[in-house]
C-alpha cells in the first residue's frame, strides 16, 4: 500500500499509540465538561446586562457566520490532510495543513477584531455579568483554537523534517481529534450565544 501503511509498527507500539489516543480522548472529554460549565454560567448570566449593552446590541450575525464558515472549512481541510497522511503523500499533508492553519488564523483574526471592537465601544468583560461570561466562554474557545494553531505549526515542522513516521502520524491524529472537537464546541457557541442573542 502506501508508505505510511508499510511503516513497520510492532504490536507493542500499536498498543502504546492506542493508550495515548485514549488518554487524549479522556482529556477532550474533561475539556468538554469545562466548556459545559462555562455554557451553564453564560446561560445564567446572559440576562444580567446591568443596564449596559445586551446581546442584541453587541453581536453581529455576519461576523459570527464568517467565523463559523472559516472554522468549518478548516475542519474539512484538516480531514483532507488526514486522508493525504493515510495515502503517504507528504507534500499534500503539508499543503492542507498550511491551508488549515490559514483558515484557523482567519477565525482568530475575526475574533480578535470582534473582541477589540466590543471593548472599544465600552462592552468589555468588566461591564456586566453577561459580558464577563461571554468573554470567558468565547475567549476560552479562542484560546484553544490559538493553541491548536501553534500545534499545527509544530506538526507542520515535524512532517517537514521527520517525514510521515509512525510517531508523527500518531500525533497528527490526536491533533485532528483536538481540531474537530473545537469545531463542535463552536457549533454550540453559535447556537447558544450568537443566534439566541440576536433574536
Amino acid at each position: 500500500m502506501s508508505s505510511v501503511a508499510s511503516m513497520t509498527i510492532g504490536p507493542r507500539d500499536a498498543e502504546r499509540y492506542e493508550e495515548k489516543d485514549f488518554g487524549f480522548w479522556l482529556y477532550l472529554m474533561s475539556d468538554a465538561v469545562i466548556f459545559a460549565c462555562l455554557f451553564a454560567t453564560y446561560l445564567v448570566m446572559v440576562g444580567n446586562a446591568a443596564g449596559g449593552p445586551t446581546p442584541k446590541d453587541v453581536f453581529e450575525l455576519d461576523r459570527a457566520a464568517a467565523e463559523t464558515a472559516l472554522l468549518l472549512l478548516s475542519s474539512t481541510t484538516f480531514g483532507v490532510a488526514a486522508v493525504a497522511l493515510s495515502a503517504g503523500d507528504r507534500g499534500k499533508v503539508l499543503l492542507w495543513l498550511a491551508i488549515t492553519f490559514l483558515l484557523g488564523a482567519g477565525f482568530i483574526f475575526l475574533e480578535i477584531g470582534e473582541f477589540t471592537g466590543m471593548i472599544a465601544q465600552g462592552a468589555g468583560p468588566d461591564r456586566s455579568g453577561f459580558l464577563s461570561a461571554f468573554f470567558t466562554l468565547v475567549g476560552t474557545h479562542g484560546f484553544h483554537v490559538s493553541v491548536g494553531l501553534v500545534w499545527i505549526v509544530v506538526m507542520f515542522a515535524q512532517v517537514f523534517f521527520k517525514g510521515l513516521t509512525a510517531p508523527v502520524a500518531s500525533r497528527f491524529m490526536r491533533l485532528g481529534l483536538f481540531w474537530h472537537f473545537l469545531d463542535i464546541i463552536w457549533v454550540v457557541i453559535f447556537s447558544v450565544v450568537y443566534l439566541p442573542g440576536v433574536l
Binding site: 505510511v4 501503511a5 511503516m7 509498527i9 500499536a14 499509540y17 492506542e18 489516543d21 485514549f22 487524549f24 480522548w25 479522556l26 472529554m29 474533561s30 468538554a32 465538561v33 459545559a36 460549565c37 455554557f39 451553564a40 454560567t41 446561560l43 445564567v44 450575525l61 459570527a64 457566520a65 463559523t68 468549518l72 472549512l73 475542519s75 474539512t76 480531514g79 483532507v80 488526514a82 486522508v83 497522511l85 493515510s86 495515502a87 509512525a166 502520524a169 500518531s170 491524529m173 490526536r174 485532528g176 481529534l177 474537530h180 472537537f181 469545531d183 463542535i184 457549533v187 454550540v188 453559535f190 447556537s191 447558544v192 450568537y194 443566534l195 439566541p196 440576536v198 433574536l199
Partner: protein, 106 residues
C-alpha cells in the same frame, strides 16, 4: 496503517465532504431562522437547539468518525460519562439558578 485509535484513519475524503455538506445545510438553516425571525421566538430557539444537536452528531460521525461498532468501547464509555456529567451540571445549574431567581423575584 494498523494503528487502532480513537480516530479512525480515513482513506477517502468522501466522509469529510458529506460532513461538510450536511454541516453547511444545518448551519445555514439555523442562521437563516435567527436572521429572518420568521417563526415565533420560542419555536426558533427550540429549532436552533435541535439543529445544533443534529450538527454535533454529524461532526462526531463524519469528522471524528465515532461510530458504535469500530470506536473502542472505552472511548464510547468516556463519551457517555462526559455527557452524563454535562447534563447534570448544565441542567442542575440552570434549574437551581432560575428557581432561585423565580423565588427572589416573587
Amino acid at each position: 496503517m494498523e494503528i487502532k485509535s480513537g480516530l479512525q484513519i480515513e482513506r477517502t475524503i468522501k466522509p469529510y465532504l458529506i460532513g461538510l455538506a450536511l454541516a453547511v445545510i444545518l448551519t445555514v438553516i439555523a442562521f437563516g431562522l435567527a436572521a429572518t425571525g420568521v417563526l415565533p421566538r420560542e419555536t426558533t430557539l427550540i429549532l436552533i437547539a435541535a439543529l445544533a444537536v443534529v450538527q454535533i452528531l454529524v461532526h462526531l460521525s463524519f469528522f471524528l468518525h465515532i461510530d458504535l461498532k469500530t470506536t473502542p468501547r472505552e472511548n464510547l464509555v468516556a463519551l457517555a460519562f462526559a455527557l452524563v456529567l454535562i447534563f447534570i451540571m448544565v441542567g442542575g445549574s440552570l434549574w437551581i439558578m432560575f428557581d432561585l431567581y423565580h423565588r427572589m423575584m416573587v
